[in-house]
Symmetry: C2
Subunit: 360 residues, 2 copies
């Protein structure tokens, strides 16, 4: 039986789902000859680790307790009373994790799973400076990050397979925001933009402040991850991002309530005109990322109604990849691109996928 | 630099494309720290191997020569004049390959790439008896076979990722024959079945005898591979296969020419009626595999026009996967599912994907 030691960063929805999946997959993974042993869990404030990472792992009872107390809003240190765990503050945690990796390097190795939702727990090196990115990818086989684009959809693995087979990717067009996918397909039917955004907020499709979605930065970060995967040495600032609201309606200028009550509806006319103009060309509008040559853009594009992206409705993500092998018709990957369940599944699949790096 | 030794079985279109790709990818793979060293190549008659697999690999000139002479219809032994290669007959080749694997096990390991188009070179253990299959998958990490379903499309890798993350797949529906995909989308527009099949033959979409496609066994073999991946312990005989021609028009009853001239057009009426009936329900006909619970079927199904499968046109493959994570809307993978280029790319991606199994 091969053991892989894990430290989980982040106990939000994805982190807790991942813990549930690790527990429920134990019989399945045992059949595959793999045992996942969790030796540490961190939230934004503290890191809980096994007192002896070599011999003691978190048992399933403790893991369930972690999920329970985090869901109730308690903090991790409340669980460190038994002596089987130690607690470290977030400022000490990086050093501690490096120590643990050193201890485990000759036995089970250590995989660190970052499921944190904010940059408080750990910085976002995939989308920060090229210097950080280069460090991360200096051992490309040891880094997996499927769930950073399209949640569990097999996006990164598919692109990596094309690249390693020598196929040259010439164009990627993707709808990578379920929220904006929903909004753009709804306005197509003539519904006012403001009404669609409000409905999306009620349905829980948007962030608490919908401008976090409408600004396009979430899509831009995903586009950056894909562009860097293709070898583009660019930063977030190099990406042309179209925001669906003007600066004058930004968070510094007005509150969420003001934006929803007074700002949003002022945007209806412009979107309606653009939708009509596209329709007169037989096209529809989609909020997409486009990566082509050195160009990397994020914003509204007119696309043929009769294309995978044009046919998209609901909150699915779609990625079209054009390459030497997929020249006339693209390789298309489509499906739910958000949700704790599929995001956690993507992380767990990555862990199983790196098992050959671990010797024991 | 990590070296992976390879033996290629099959020098047809896919095998030659693979050799081309290995050569052209050398700089790319070097950047990834991997060196692919070909130490043997086989066709259906003989196996050509390096005289000393530990120290000598086939150089790029010899690899190009292999492609050139095989394209010209010559046999491999004509290249074994220099003393750097040895030739073995096909009956000796299995034993020799096992020997080589033994020699290389402590240095570069050995990957055997089966690109043969016929079962003359090697049997098809993925679709033969469960006994053979069980042997093959007894070391699941050492077996990759992406290109056996949908050519280079990321089908197997995506299903394996879902499975290893504990997602439960409840339904797979796929159009896995570019030929039958083309035929079914063309008859939808009212063209006679016989005319569409003849056009497909002229376009080179069908096998020399179109009944090899119309019989559905190619799709059934792919369905079997997917069903076994999901854990179904079934054989090819257990799959319900709908043939698009009756036994009375089979290869034993009439020649290809007779079938095309006299048989085929007798099938037009039936197909036309079924197309019309489907259309009256707002549906279209697709030749698909359906794997659901213990059911595994291959044949014509009525499907909603407004689904990824229903919208399919041309010769693309499409796979819809429904699971716990992809419940309402399926995970969809679509693109060219045939062709030497994409098939060879899938094989090469598999080789790079197993690199962590090799130590040196």
């Amino acid at each position: 039986m091969k053991s892989i030691s894990l430290i989980l960063l982040g106990c939000g929805g994805v982190g807790r789902q991942l813990i549930h999946n690790i527990i429920s997959c134990r019989p399945l993974h045992a059949k595959q000859g793999v045992r996942l042993r969790v030796v540490g869990v961190a939230d934004s404030e503290s890191l809980l680790v096994s007192s002896d990472v070599l011999t003691m792992e978190f048992d399933d009872h403790l893991l369930s307790e972690i999920c329970r107390i985090k869901l109730n809003g308690s903090s991790l240190p409340t669980l460190a009373t038994s002596g089987s765990c130690q607690v470290f503050s977030s400022s000490e945690s990086t050093k501690k994790i490096v120590d643990i990796a050193g201890h485990l390097v000759r036995s089970t190795g250590l995989a660190v799973l970052d499921c944190s939702a904010s940059s408080d727990t750990i910085e976002r090196p995939l989308t920060s400076s090229m210097e950080d990115y280069d460090k991360l990818v200096s051992h490309p086989r040891r880094l997996r990050h499927e769930s950073t684009v399209g949640a569990g959809l097999p996006v990164i693995v598919s692109i990596n397979r094309l690249l390693s087979s020598g196929d040259s990717i010439c164009l990627i067009v993707g709808s990578l925001s379920g929220t904006l996918g929903y909004v753009m397909s709804e306005v197509e039917d003539g519904k006012p933009f403001s009404q669609v955004v409000k409905t999306a907020k009620i349905l829980g499709y948007t962030e608490p402040d919908p401008r976090d979605d409408l600004g396009g930065m979430d899509v831009a970060r995903k586009a950056l991850i894909l562009a860097r995967l293709l070898g583009h040495r660019i930063n977030l600032e190099s990406i042309k991002v179209e925001s669906l609201y003007p600066k004058e309606m930004g968070p510094k200028a007005m509150s969420v309530e003001e934006f929803l009550a007074n700002g949003l509806s002022l945007l209806d006319d412009n979107i309606e005109q653009r939708v009509r103009k596209a329709a007169s060309n037989g096209n529809v509008l989609r909020y997409v990322c486009v990566i082509e040559g050195s160009r990397c853009e994020v914003g509204i594009q007119e696309l043929p109604k009769n294309s995978p992206l044009g046919r998209l409705s609901g909150s699915d993500n779609v990625l079209e990849i054009y390459s030497r092998c997929y020249k006339e018709q693209p390789l298309v990957i489509q499906g739910a691109g958000a949700g704790n369940d599929t995001t956690a599944a993507g992380v767990l699949a990555d862990v199983l996928d790196i098992q050959d790096l671990f010797s024991s």
